[in-house]
């Protein structure tokens, strides 16, 4: 049955909304496949505004991989801004894809990528606009299967009522496996309806279907246990790991939007995973082990991606890009290849050491020179031991001195506030460090125009990290410490004007904390917030702390738990955590030991270069660290 485009109805309304271009599609390298020829149809959603969602690598990769397959169709949909939502409600226009403007409800699957928990209310908006019941249990065989992915899906319990399924880890292989299950089930005529399809997905072991698990609670509100409620469903659900990134060189044809987006560049993941062991970093913990993409594949991807997109900037993505075993050769090879072409290269995540400056010098040979960012994360030596960020203040000073000597005038330093065991003086130490940075810069260059920007984020304890048991710092304390830091910087006559300070207030972090470590009872809060108008919670202009606290009080009135219980409460070793049945590969005992080591200020080395410390991932998942060097070189391409 053909599905009609809603565009003719949408088009006359577009002049009345902000930035209409974000709703029209037509991006370079976007695709519209024939509806009727497809056996399995995916709508892929990034639950934030188009300008944020379009560049998302996960969505672009799956979009391309799925569309490459015969009989499979994938289109994209993003959150619409409140002005558009109002127009759509007034005119009865459903949530649509931007590719062919088809109604989302017509697809077989709605795959939603959650990079952050603050997109949960946007999921509800999209479902409601789509005409899909927000509660999964209310859906019929006519509705798409709603599947959550992305890092936030490692604890999907707060949205367990709203999604049919969740997938943990790398999406490439599992998206295709899910497609096959759906294809077979549809070919058989959809036996057993929606329930049977979900059961088949759950039985595969790689897809978590929350409705097949019952959660029981202790009288004090803690979880008693999470157990399957029907046969054939596994007790634990494992994450997915793509082992050979060279076999998955996506995106090959990056989407190039007409609208302005947050990242205007072609990004290549140069490796996945990170074993530096920073204890606050959920990404580093859940994406283990390290798997490098080879220098030759990186070179080929950059070449093809630039040709296909026309972008002027290449980003080499990973959790710690300078750690690629052949990053020096990659940097030099690319800088040589693109010299004189006004193509700039960037390394978004870098570590604090002088080698970075060498890389940065290579990268800025083309003329463009972006800022340098370092992330000591903690202001004091003690704090950095707690979080296992093994950088000494002397390391940092050496690094920034080299940077200033090499012509940079500004560096950015990234920290967190509200870390476990943090005291006021740990945060005030940030001011001392920033002043030392300026002093070092002035001494190294003899100039006065040295600047540094201190950027501070609020720490949120995340599942599957050693800090999953930690008490989150209350927002009043975070705000007080940040004020004290601000006073210490502003009041300094000699250095104050050379140091910029950027931070956010602590309240949004509490809500993020609630959603990160919440259980199924938190779903009621999300729904209440959404019903009260909550949208785009990741945007300060839309976020309302009061809305969340009010909703939490109401939704949890009959429960022995409250907002504080979910956030600022420390958990003990035996407590069943909402995500304990979801397996990121990390050994629970190792995580607990690492948490104890954190409190004792004991550091752990990176297992890439030192013996294994038994975090558990490799043996559990049947994976291993995959790093070079390959010894190969990035050859200059012949000029076409």
């Amino acid at each position: 049955m053909p599905v009609e485009s809603i565009f003719p109805r949408l088009e006359p309304l577009l002049p009345s909304v902000q930035k209409p271009i974000q709703y029209v599609g037509g991006e370079l390298n976007s695709q519209v496949k024939d509806w009727d020829e497809a056996e399995v149809r995916w709508a892929l959603m990034y639950p934030d505004a188009y300008e944020v969602g379009l560049p998302n690598q996960g969505v672009q990769i799956l979009y391309e991989i799925l569309n490459e397959r015969d009989g499979v169709l994938a289109e994209r949909t993003y959150s619409v801004w409140p002005d558009m939502e109002a127009v759509m409600r007034e005119h009865g226009i459903p949530q649509f894809t931007v590719d062919a403007h088809r109604p989302v409800a017509a697809f077989d699957v709605l795959g939603v990528s959650f990079s952050t928990e603050l997109g949960y209310t946007n999921l509800l908006t999209a479902l409601d606009l789509a005409g899909v019941p927000p509660t999964a249990a209310d859906r019929t065989d006519d509705h798409p299967i709603v599947i959550a992915g992305g890092h936030a899906a490692f604890n999907p319990e707060p949205i367990a009522d709203f999604v049919d399924a969740a997938v943990l880890g790398d999406g490439e292989e599992i998206a295709l496996a899910i497609t096959e299950v759906i294809r077979e089930w549809k070919a058989e005529g959809g036996p057993g309806g929606r329930d049977e399809l979900l059961l088949r997905l759950a039985a595969s072991g790689g897809v978590y279907v929350p409705r097949f698990y019952d959660v029981t609670y202790l009288p004090d509100g803690r979880i008693q246990r999470v157990a399957p409620n029907r046969p054939g469903v596994p007790w634990r659900i494992e994450k997915h790991t793509v082992m050979d990134l060279d076999q998955w060189p996506y995106p090959k044809k990056p989407l190039v939007p007409l609208a302005e987006t947050v990242h205007e560049r072609f990004s290549v993941e140069i490796f996945r995973g990170c074993t530096r062991g920073c204890r606050f970093c959920q990404a580093g913990m859940i994406t283990r082990p390290v798997r490098e993409r080879s220098i030759t594949t990186i070179g080929a991807m950059v070449d093809q991606g630039l040709k296909e997109s026309g972008f002027q900037e290449v980003g080499l993505l990973s959790l710690s890009s300078a750690d690629h075993s052949e990053i020096g050769d990659v940097a030099k090879g690319l800088a040589d290849r693109y010299e004189g072409t006004n193509t700039s290269l960037s390394l978004p995540s870098t570590r604090v050491d002088a080698f970075n400056i060498t890389l940065a010098n290579e990268f800025s040979r083309g003329g463009r020179r972006s800022g340098l960012t370092f992330a000591p994360e903690g202001g004091s030596e003690r704090m950095r031991k707690v979080i296992n960020k093994m950088v000494t203040e002397d390391d940092l000073i050496r690094t920034v001195t080299t940077a200033y000597e090499n012509g940079w005038r500004q560096v950015k330093l990234y920290f967190m506030c509200g870390l476990p065991t943090e005291e006021d003086e740990d945060v005030l130490a940030i001011a001392d460090m920033a002043k030392r940075v300026i002093r070092a810069g002035r001494e190294a260059t003899g100039r006065k125009d040295i600047r540094c920007t201190v950027s501070i984020g609020g720490f949120v304890p995340k599942p599957h990290t050693p800090f999953q048991w930690a008490a989150q710092c209350d927002h009043e304390t975070v705000d007080r410490r940040l004020r004290a830091l601000k006073d210490a910087l502003r009041g300094d006559k000699e250095y104050g004007r050379a140091i910029g300070l950027r931070y956010h207030d602590g309240q949004p972090s509490i809500v993020e904390g609630l959603l990160s470590r919440g259980d199924r009872r938190v779903g009621k809060i999300i729904r209440a917030v959404w019903e009260d108008g909550g949208r785009f919670d990741g945007w300060s202009e839309h976020f309302s702390y009061e809305r969340w606290t009010t909703a939490a009080e109401k939704a949890l009135a009959d429960e022995p738990v409250d907002l504080a219980w979910y956030t600022v409460r420390e958990r003990d070793e035996v407590e069943v955590l909402p995500w304990d049945h979801l397996d990121a590969g990390l050994d629970r005992e190792w995580l607990w030991q690492d948490w104890q080591d954190a409190v004792d200020e004991t550091e752990v080395e990176d297992c890439r270069w030192t013996p294994c410390y038994d975090c558990g991932v490799c043996p559990t998942m049947g994976t291993e660290i995959q790093i070079g060097p390959t010894g190969r070189k990035l050859l200059p391409l012949s000029v076409v």
Binding site: F7, E11, P12, L14, P15, S16, K19, P20, I21, Y23, V24, G25, G26, E27, L28, V256, L258, A259, E260, E264, L306, K307, E308, S309, G310, F311, Q312, G340, N342, S364, G366, G367, R368, R369, G407, R409, V640
Partner: protein
């Protein structure tokens, strides 16, 4: 701070007429400028860059139709470091742009200027004396529209107000409109009941935009379209004294331009809509 090597000089400048059509009319000027920069890179066109710390490609735009307004006649100028066949540039650039942003015509800037490092921005813009617009008003009958147009054209002056960057401004819209008529034939063959206006509007300061004229039509004749109008710029160029229509602003370059190859002549002859030709002139009269 290390300086990059001196940028390669401009050896050829091309004037480009492009169209924004269909859903791509919702692109803003900034969107178009990014899309063109990327297309130029994808097409491998040897664009010149400015010098300095953040080099920019030498592409300049002569005005730009507003977001949401379609156009058959937008103009940009691009500086190249090597001589290229304009017909080839037209084809390559068009292929590299998303469908809906279409390259209509490419003409080299006339010989005397080649080698000039400094583009004389004013000179070409001055040729764009007026625009020809088509405004489609869905749900408006041709008779109602005709009455409004007659009242509009009969008025001596029509003052409208618009919020500009400099605040609320009040200005006359009547004087800028040299011709305004109803295209009944086009309206009859349209897919839904509508009225189609065609008009020639002089470029002035403050600019009189199609929506200002619609405001004027509402003021003089209570013409209130039930849905947003579909506005298309059909042409820009010098006002022709003989017909009241517009001449092709690229003609002066064509007359004295560098040889641009037979392909270019063929392509132009076949594909370029002629704003002043017989098919459209019936709707535009002085």
């Amino acid at each position: 701070m290390p300086e990059g090597p001196a940028p390669a000089p401009v050896t050829q400048r091309l004037r480009v007429r492009y169209a924004k059509r269909g859903r791509l009319r919702f692109t803003s000027h900034r969107d178009i400028s990014r899309a063109v920069e990327r297309a130029v890179r994808r097409a491998g066109i040897p664009v010149a860059f400015s010098g300095g710390f953040t080099p920019h490609p030498k592409i300049s735009y002569a005005g730009a139709a507003a977001t949401g307004v379609a156009s058959e006649a937008e103009y940009l100028e691009i500086g190249l470091t090597e001589i290229r066949d304009p017909a080839r540039v037209r084809a390559d650039l068009d292929a590299a742009l998303p469908p809906g942003l279409d390259i209509v015509d490419v003409v080299p800037v006339r010989a005397g200027r080649v080698g000039d490092a400094q583009p004389r921005a004013g000179a070409f813009v001055d040729r764009l004396e007026a625009s020809e617009w088509r405004i489609r008003l869905d749900g408006v009958s041709s008779d109602d529209a005709a009455e409004a147009v007659a009242a509009f054209m009969a008025a001596g002056s029509i003052e409208v107000e618009r919020l500009t960057k400099k605040g609320l401004r009040r200005f006359d819209v009547r004087a800028a409109v040299s011709a305004c008529e109803l295209d009944r034939r086009a309206a009859e063959s349209a897919d839904a009941p509508c009225a189609i206006l065609r008009m020639v509007v002089r470029h002035s300061t403050p600019a009189v935009r199609p929506d200002d004229i619609l405001t004027g039509l509402r003021q003089v004749a209570d013409l209130a379209p039930p849905s947003p109008p579909l506005v298309t710029r059909l042409a820009q160029g010098p006002l022709r004294a003989d017909t009241g229509g517009l001449a092709d602003p690229l003609d002066p370059d064509r007359e004295t331009g560098l040889p641009s190859g037979d392909d270019a002549e063929t392509a132009r002859g076949q594909e370029r809509p002629q704003p002043g030709d017989a098919a459209s002139v019936d709707a535009v009269s002085a």
